[in-house]
Amino acid sequence: MTTTYVPAPAASSTGRMLAAQTRMELRLLFRNGEQVGLTLIIPLLLEFFFNLPLLYSLNGRRIDFVVPSILALAVMSAAFTGLAIGTGFERKYAVLKRLGATALPRSVLLWAKTLAVLGLEVIQTLLICLFAVVLGWHPHGDPVTVVLLMALGTIAFGGLGLLVAGTLRAEVTLAAANLLWLVLLFCGGIAIPLDKYPHGVHQVLQFLPSAAMSDGLHRVLQHGAQLPVAPLITLVLWAAVALPAATRWFRWE
């Protein structure tokens, strides 16, 4: 064997690390059955079932209400539940610790995770919108505003996901992230319109990040609103709290 171990240490370029790390993160996401189920299959199934007049009746075209809800759900699944569970177990199995001992800077690792979540969301959005068109969807509004809402939702939910994953045990993270996903799905303005709740409850629930994102997406995509100011502000506030909190309290091992 001619392998030589004569030292020649040097970190590779940030761009190369970022590309390799993002590719690995995405590959692992799509290889993980639970992640695929959570972020791709369940949203598409719910898109189909919520379009059936089962739980409640709605005025207007049902699919035009359902699609913004499902887009909000997709962002919550990828940026919050999926990211929290994935990162929680990486922490538990010392992956984050091990990566901390390589030339990969933590900032590049976090950017890679962000890019992987964004890449996943692009795929989710494409599949959800394609399926929606098949179901007879008529989108309204400005796509740029839609992207802005989803991006802000990603930052807010991503920060919350990392906060949970970085502070709780992996098993607790798993339970908490799934439970919150379910609670926010039904009480956070995604599956059930908040105006179906009593007025006082509605006033409180509308400030949840899921409700703000869902409400904003409904206003734009369903009703063609220009700039849904209140939901945007709510999401900015959540992001402004969640990201610094995650940075402050995240434990790498």
Binding site: T4, V6, P7, A103
Partner: protein
């Protein structure tokens, strides 16, 4: 002149009320292989993890390649290879070759990943998911991950734990090649043979303190004596043997027909003994020469067995 590979002075670290490291000092020269030898819980891993920048010392000074492991982490990481004790510590869903290529992508001049995988005997497991590897295979992957960036210093925490004897020998060969090529190596072990076989110098640690340090030869020969045992017919004339032996050697018959010569063991002593037996017409059976091993050294220093 370059700074030492590792320089630790008066390192102290406690976990709550439990002191893990109590005033430990050591120095590793460039290109040298130092074995940190001691029982479980001696403070080996804590010391090494402080050098790796994972933990902060309570007090004392640590310099790795002349740099501070925490403050200068960004500059240090690419130059140091790390093998953690808790296994691969990496994406368990990734395939073996994917993971090695990922780590190679962090380095500007990585080793050839296929060649390295073959070198650690994992070429047949290249497409296997890391979670399906055996304990020994994970250790070998972990070693490859530590080396792929061509570091100038590697920390190997219990590198052969969980390996079968064959893999263990192969890993020893690889570690010798690292030394040959000028890589500085710090390894922890509680296997004496590993330290004796590989190390330029051994630092024996117990209860968070250095109890002995030196080359394996120094540690096993300093002040200590060895012994020769043999069996022969009962009642040999020990007074005659004693006259023949060099000054300082002591002959005795602890049990009938079993003889013991204690003294500084060298070829001369052995020749004298066998010549005396030949002159007496005595056939010495089961003759064995026992030098002090690191195990004896450790037992003497701490009053405890190394392996618990």
């Amino acid at each position: 002149m370059d700074a030492a590979a590792v320089q630790v002075d008066n390192l102290v670290k406690s976990y709550g009320a439990h002191p893990a490291v109590r005033g430990l000092s050591l120095r590793v020269e460039r290109g040298e292989l130092l074995a940190l030898l001691g029982p479980n819980g001696a403070g080996k891993t804590t010391t090494i993890e402080i050098c790796e920048g994972f933990r902060r010392a309570d007090s004392g000074q640590v310099r790795v390649l002349g740099l501070d492991p925490i403050a200068d982490a960004r500059a240090l990481r690419p130059r140091v290879g790390v093998m953690l004790q808790e296994g691969v510590g990496a994406y368990t869903g990734a395939r073996t070759s994917e993971l090695l290529r990922l780590f190679a992508s962090y380095a500007a001049n990585p080793l050839d990943t296929d060649e390295l995988l073959a070198r650690v005997g994992l070429q047949d497991s290249a497409r296997q998911q890391v979670r399906r590897l055996s304990g020994g295979q994970k250790q070998r992957l972990s070693l490859a991950l530590a080396l792929v960036g061509r570091p100038e210093l590697v920390f190997l925490d219990e590198p052969t734990a969980g390996m079968d004897p064959h893999a263990r020998r192969a890993t020893w060969d690889l570690i010798r090649e690292l030394r040959r090529d000028g890589v500085s190596v710090v390894l922890t072990t509680h296997h004496l043979d590993e330290a004796e076989q590989l190390a330029d110098r051994v630092t024996v640690v117990d209860s968070g303190q250095v109890v002995a340090a030196g080359t394996p030869a120094e540690l096993t020969s300093s002040g200590a004596e060895g012994q020769i045992r043999f069996r022969a017919a009962a009642g040999l004339r020990l007074d005659s043997l004693q006259v023949a032996l060099p000054v300082g050697a002591q002959a005795s018959e602890p049990q009938r027909g079993q003889y013991l010569v204690v003294g500084e063991i060298n070829p001369q002593l052995l020749a004298t003994l066998t010549a005396w037996c030949a002159a007496q017409g005595v056939l010495a059976e089961q003759l064995s020469v026992e030098r002090r091993s690191l195990e004896d050294v450790f037992l003497e220093l701490t009053g405890r067995q190394l392996r618990t």
